[in-house]
């Protein structure tokens, strides 16, 4: 496990203890910093707030307050403080980094990624600490190609580092580069078995529809580390593919018990709940998935389906119209939009969307070789 620790260390927030406080209230701020450094987070938070009541423009105190709140697990409050600090000092890379970390911890990976990117552009010295974290964000956002682009230039230097290889391997699998992912996985394997390597290998096998081996590896990963991020979600996907919805539901639920914001589990539980016609529950899961990947077309499509199923035709139409405008190749969205139009007695619009959907599906079918088991 220790081989994978670098990613976790990067999650610590950085207080700006080194800066000098303003002279008038020096003692109050010094007191707050002392409490912070002693680990009395509640006392430090109170003291920083007292200081900020008289020195509201102090970026240092604002940043430290955010760091204390983050360390206390009060991420939403931390985000508020960092945002105020950034209004005063928009290009402060440490504030951006800390804000990114707070967003990361609350599962808001898109916001986190944006802050990390900005922090890296302003302060290249952060690159070492932030690159891997940014790549994890990209992976969580489904931006696997971006993660690969970020990490590939570093492979020569970092390859062999277990943390790096794990994140890079995950990105390569997501990007569909199974050959490169296999090479990375073999590099990790050279150091011996680990839950992470079983997870990577299981994910690769899942992608290759080798379900028997995938199941064995994913179950090994979980047996070795039941809290391994992503392992239950992958197993859930596999179980769904095997037709065991009940066990898949349990696997996704276990993943969410470890990380309530894990995207795949929220999406799949949303879809499964929708299929059960438990629409309130479905919406809750899907909206959480959308929080992790804002604007994700798949999630928005599922939410539109919930609207259609519950008879909310106008919201469904609006969402689907936006989707097909943004993603004109989204055949399923065109098909569902056709049904919505027909239900609204807009036959001409329905005919148009149906024709588009069928054309797109034909094009897609033509590209599929069908050389995989059902």
């Amino acid at each position: 496990m220790s081989r994978f620790r670098p990613i976790l260390l990067a999650l610590l927030a950085f207080p700006l203890f080194a800066q000098q406080p303003a002279a008038d209230h020096d003692a109050l701020l010094q007191h707050a910093i002392a409490l912070h450094q002693s680990g009395d987070l509640d006392g430090a938070i109170r003291a920083y707030r007292d200081y900020l009541a008289v020195e509201p423009d102090s970026v240092q105190a604002r940043s430290n307050l955010g760091a204390a709140l983050a360390r206390a697990g009060r991420y939403d409050e931390a985000i508020t403080e960092y945002d105020i600090g950034l209004q005063k000092s928009p290009d402060n890379p440490a504030l951006l980094l800390n804000l990114g970390l707070a967003y990361y911890k609350t599962g808001r990976h898109a916001e986190a990624a944006a802050r990390f990117e900005r922090a890296m552009s302003l302060s290249p010295q952060f690159n070492d600490q932030v690159t891997l974290l940014l790549a994890v964000c990209y992976n969580n956002l489904g931006r696997y190609k971006d993660a690969v682009a970020l990490l590939a230039p570093l492979e020569k230097d970092k390859g062999g580092d277990a943390g790096f290889d794990y994140v890079y391997g995950t990105a390569l699998i997501g990007a569909g580069d199974e050959a490169a992912a296999t090479a990375v996985m073999n590099r990790i394997l050279a150091h011996g078995d680990s839950p992470e390597v079983f997870l990577l290998r299981g994910s690769l096998e899942l992608a290759a529809h080798d379900r028997v081996r995938a199941r064995a590896d994913l179950e090994k990963a979980i047996a070795l580390n039941p809290k391994l991020a992503g392992a239950h979600a992958r197993l859930g996907e596999l179980l769904l593919a095997l037709g065991d919805g009940e066990k898949a539901r349990a696997a996704f639920a276990q993943e969410l018990a470890l990380d309530p914001d894990e995207f795949t589990s929220n999406l799949n539980l949303g879809v499964l709940s929708k299929e059960d016609q438990a629409y309130v529950e479905a919406r809750r899961y899907l909206e959480r998935a959308l929080k992790v990947r804002p604007n994700d077309p798949g999630v928005r499509y599922q939410l539109a389906n919930v609207d259609l199923a519950t008879g909310n035709l106008d919201p469904a139409r609006e969402a689907l119209e936006a989707l097909v405008k943004e993603s004109p190749q989204f055949a399923e969205a065109h098909a569902t939009l056709a049904t919505v139009y027909y239900r609204m007695n807009r036959s001409a619009d329905g005919d148009r969307e149906r024709a588009l959907s069928e054309k797109l599906m034909e094009q897609r079918d033509a590209l599929q070789t069908g050389t995989k088991p059902r």
Partner: protein
């Protein structure tokens, strides 16, 4: 006597009070099924000629029809079979199709050779449809094949004649036909024919698919879709292929089961065709000899996620007795079996989740299926014949499932409560419903790959009442296919059904219309809306009988 009567009364009253206080309805006895096939001496086994090489059509073998070919009042059975591959010939008796005559004593005799139905000159056979296409009072057969399809005319003397060549029923070269259904789409009194086609296939163009050196049945995506075909019955044994002019030619599918019903209540029969990995088709009859494919409008083209699944068998019946036929199709494990509630003839609402069908079905790969009121409680239950496509998984052999309808709202799985013969695991494929012993409780015939079929007799022992209606059309087609029946019990409960032989996958069922009446013994009326438009009402027919109703002349 009076004294004894007076003394006895309180005892009865106490019993009533006890039942009431217990808060429980006495549990109705659940019928079970017993396989009587072993009692009969016949050689037929469903043989897809699997010898290691996996040819695409081998997954689909063993169509079955229940029909009374000799008019003795007892349902007989016909089974289709595979062929030697790659020769694609029924070169050995083990590949022959099979006709079993119902002796009426719980046994069946193989009369295939005498009847001329072995199909020695056919290729690999799939579905079968029974119907009296020439209105001569004798049920005919249509057999779907890889290779040429076959129309068999029932000569009325226990034999059949292959009349395909002179019938005008042809199809494009090398098209693989899976299933067929007889119905009268223009209400002209003659049964027309719809055939669901899957792809263009010959053993010579069969693809090989393998993973880690292990061969598996290729994904359907590897084969092209084709048009389903519609044949208009011109009379005198002649048919016209109206596929294109009727609106069937535009949509390319991979056809499996066919369900026929008047979905929008306009008096004309509509057609649902389940497609494998292609969207499903709902052909709505335009009442002018044409159809409009309306799967999108009706919400049955795709599942709720916009995905086309491996839709297999299909059936359309009114499971909640609201007067509109609903729709069911099954598919493979990991997908969601589709139960759709007909919204007053306007569109279908997906109710697999609410009805519990989605969760009940998630472990099963379904093929044939259908609504069957197996316990005669007036609510149509859901049967599915199951088994994986391939033999690669750990649970490839699967038991059939029976989901019992609870008040027309939900279903519960009673598979393990209806007998070990029912729950036998296998690679089940075709199925037909028929009252084989005319006891008013539907029986079930199921084929399984590489096995003798099961002939599952319903124990019929829960005391519920029933009515079986045999319709004979005069202005309408003689079978009465398409007639809509509404039964009203003495208590005012209304039950609905319609005449069709098409349900499930590759199969054809007892054309007689079955009604379970529950505990009610009295029927107020039976209304029949014939395809001709004539509405006939039978007042107070007796329950627990097979009632033959002949269409009035006007």
């Amino acid at each position: 006597m009076n004294r004894w009567w007076a003394a006895g009364a309180p005892v009865v009253a106490m019993c009533v009070v006890w039942v009431s206080l217990s808060g429980a309805q006495p549990e109705t006895r659940r019928p079970h099924f017993t396989d009587i096939a072993p009692k009969s001496d016949f050689a037929y086994r469903t043989d897809n000629n699997f010898t290691g090489r996996k040819y695409f059509p081998q997954t689909m073998c063993g169509g079955v029809a229940a029909f009374d070919f000799d008019n003795d009042g007892r349902m007989d059975l016909f089974f289709t079979n595979g062929a030697k591959l790659p020769e694609m010939q029924k070169s050995d008796p083990r590949f022959y199709n099979c006709l079993l005559r119902n002796r009426g004593d719980g046994t069946f005799e193989d009369v295939s050779a005498k009847a001329g139905l072995q199909g020695k000159d056919l290729g690999f056979s799939f579905g079968v449809a029974a119907g009296d296409y020439d209105n001569d009072g004798h049920e005919d057969l249509f057999v779907c094949n890889a290779g040429r399809n076959a129309l068999y005319h029932n000569n009325g003397n226990g034999t059949f004649t292959d009349v395909t060549d002179q019938s005008g029923i042809t199809k494009p070269k090398d098209v693989l036909s899976v299933a067929a259904a007889w119905f009268d789409y223009d209400n002209d009194g003659k049964l027309d024919l719809v055939v669901s086609n899957y792809t263009v296939w010959t053993p010579q163009i069969d693809k090989i698919c393998a993973i880690n050196g292990q061969e598996y049945y290729c994904h359907p995506k590897i084969y092209p879709g084709v048009a389903h075909r519609l044949y208009h019955n011109l009379g005198n044994g002649h048919f016209e292929d109206v596929t294109d002019s009727a609106g069937f030619g535009k949509d390319l599918g991979k056809g499996m089961g066919i369900a026929i019903a008047d979905f929008n209540g306009d008096g004309y029969q509509d057609v649902f065709i389940a497609n494998d990995t292609v969207r499903n088709f709902m052909y709505i009859n335009q009442k002018n000899g044409t159809f409009k494919e309306s799967g999108y409008e009706w919400g049955v083209a795709y599942d709720e996620n916009g995905n086309a699944h491996s839709s297999m068998g299909a059936d359309a019946k009114d499971y909640d007795n609201d007067g509109f036929p609903d729709l069911f199709y099954n598919n493979l494990k990991g997908q969601i079996w589709g139960l759709f509630h007909n919204m007053a003839g306007k569109y279908m609402s997906y109710v697999s989740g609410l009805s519990h069908v989605s969760r009940l079905s998630e472990h099963s790969s379904g093929w044939s299926n259908g609504f069957i009121d197996y316990n005669n409680d007036g609510w149509k239950d859901l049967y599915s014949s199951n088994g994986d496509i391939d033999d690669m998984g750990t649970v490839s052999r699967q038991p059939d499932t029976l989901f019992e309808n609870v008040d027309g709202k939900q279903f519960r799985d009673v598979t393990n409560e209806v007998g070990a013969d029912f729950a036998r695991a296998g690679f089940q494929r075709g199925s037909a419903f028929a009252d084989l012993n005319n006891d008013g409780f539907p029986d079930l015939v199921v084929t399984s790959l590489d096995e003798k079929p099961r002939i599952l007799i319903n124990s019929a022992d829960n005391g519920n009442h029933w009515l079986l209606v045999n319709t004979i059309g005069r202005r309408s087609n003689r079978d009465g296919v398409g007639a809509a029946l509404k039964l009203t019990t003495a208590s005012g409960r209304t039950l609905y059904n319609h005449v069709t032989t098409s349900d499930g996958f590759m199969s054809s069922s007892d054309k007689r219309v079955h009604f379970g009446l529950g505990a009610e013994k009295a029927i107020e009326s039976l209304e029949i809306r014939w395809p001709s438009g004539i509405v006939q009402t039978v007042k107070k027919p007796k329950a627990d009988q097979i009632l033959t109703v002949t269409e009035p002349s006007k």
